[in-house]
Symmetry: C2
Subunit: 227 residues, 2 copies
DNA sequence: CTATGATTCAAACGAACGTATGAATCATAG
DNA sequence: CTATGATTCATACGTTCGTTTGAATCATAG
């Protein structure tokens, strides 16, 4: 019984994860989900209550581990650095590297979940954004604090902005991997898929760290005083 | 007559732009649009043919100017640099700065259009992505070429990736300005809105250039040969 | 074996969706 | 002023949406 229940629930979650990634929340119907999962239409409302709750559960299933792992990694860095600030490259890797390495980990959602997450960060639906914001807040706050300590000469506002920029570059890098690839449409040498994934992490890391450590911007004319 | 027609068309486009930005394409109904525009429900199908065509017209109205301006700026840089490569900072400003300065230009769509564009780059809807890709291709190709010449020591594949990352950071910076602000939730000093916008451009430019000029990534073990 | 609670199922609900229609209204040309 | 073509309008069409319902089926406990 418990197995059947868990089975149906997981089949629904898997199908929903894939379809929400491919067509978005509004663009995916419950009939598509239950059809792809091979379960009855009413199963979603029975097991999750509503489409919204299903969406939240799709994320919670993956984010619980991700956020715990991110905190665990940061704890470990802090324990190993006895009092001194952690290197920015380690902090960035703890947050973004931990996320990106899910790509190879089908158990944790793989590329499907990564793309879903990347796209959802800019999703227009109100309840999704508030849910994600709430889910992320604690972890982001800890990483921000770590960056403040690691870069004492950089104004905090600047660090927050750059964290924002890093989030954007990362989410777009994974969400757009085959959507807006058309835009850039690299006639570049066609690295095969695995290559591309293996190399994405170091490539993105270099970019993020370069941006994080870039020279501070010069603001024109007025309003320079507060710096 | 022509005025009334143009008026209705523009009222629809304005309302659609705002609502698509706020709720997404799938999340916005034709009844919401016509209601907000103060026109009859059938007006959209009469003037645009379908909801999809309306969406395309919403973008074309803004992108036509943006793409022309980007090409114009690049042409000018090339003319002024007689033969020599253009500085990366100018190229980046030509592409991303030109975009971001729309924020202050209500005539060209202002923040509403910027947010819509940022969100749409990762939109799940198939036809939207193909439309945008087609609309962007020519301009992106010219800017890529300019970057290739400006950074002859950086492998082309790397430049293409970093262009991708810059696109992501930018679109997220504008799309998420009040959505995922919750995530970062800066208790930082509350710069007022105009300040924030004035400073966003130089802040983002510093970040983008830092990322673009970052040290090249080191790939682990195998597959380093092709570099 | 029987009873009980959990799960699945087919079927239907009302609401909202994008689109189509034909008459009414409008502005202009002759 | 009248005729013509463009625009607006109220209304309806057929689908699809998320959700609900009550009976059928299943697994386990007594």
């Amino acid at each position: 019984m418990a197995e059947s229940k868990a089975d149906t629930r997981e089949r629904i979650l898997d199908a929903a994860e894939r379809l929400f990634m491919a067509h978005g929340y509004e663009g995916t119907s419950m009939r598509q989900i239950t059809s792809e999962a091979g379960v009855n239409l009413a199963a979603i409302n029975y097991h999750f209550g509503s489409k919204e709750s299903l969406m939240q559960e799709v994320f919670r299933r993956r984010l619980d581990w991700l956020n715990e792992e991110r905190l665990r990694v940061l704890d470990q860095f802090e324990a190993e650095s006895d009092g001194k600030a952690i290197k920015p490259s380690l902090i960035v890797d703890g947050f973004f590297g931990t996320l990106l390495r899910i790509a190879d980990d089908e158990e944790r959602g793989g590329m499907t979940f990564l793309r879903l997450l990347g796209r959802t960060l800019t999703d227009p639906s109100e309840f999704i954004r508030t849910f994600l914001a709430h889910e992320y807040k604690a972890v982001v706050d800890r990483y921000k604090e770590a960056l403040f300590r690691a870069l004492p000469d950089v104004p905090k506002a600047e660090i927050v902005w750059r964290f924002h920029f890093m989030l954007g570059a990362t989410s777009y890098a994974i969400a757009g991997t085959d959507s807006l690839r058309l835009v850039t449409d690299w006639q570049i040498e066609a690295e095969d898929a695995t290559d591309r994934l293996d190399r994405l992490v170091p490539r993105l890391m270099s970019f993020l760290l370069g941006g994080l450590r870039a020279p501070l911007p010069q603001f024109s004319e007025a309003a320079v005083d507060s710096l």
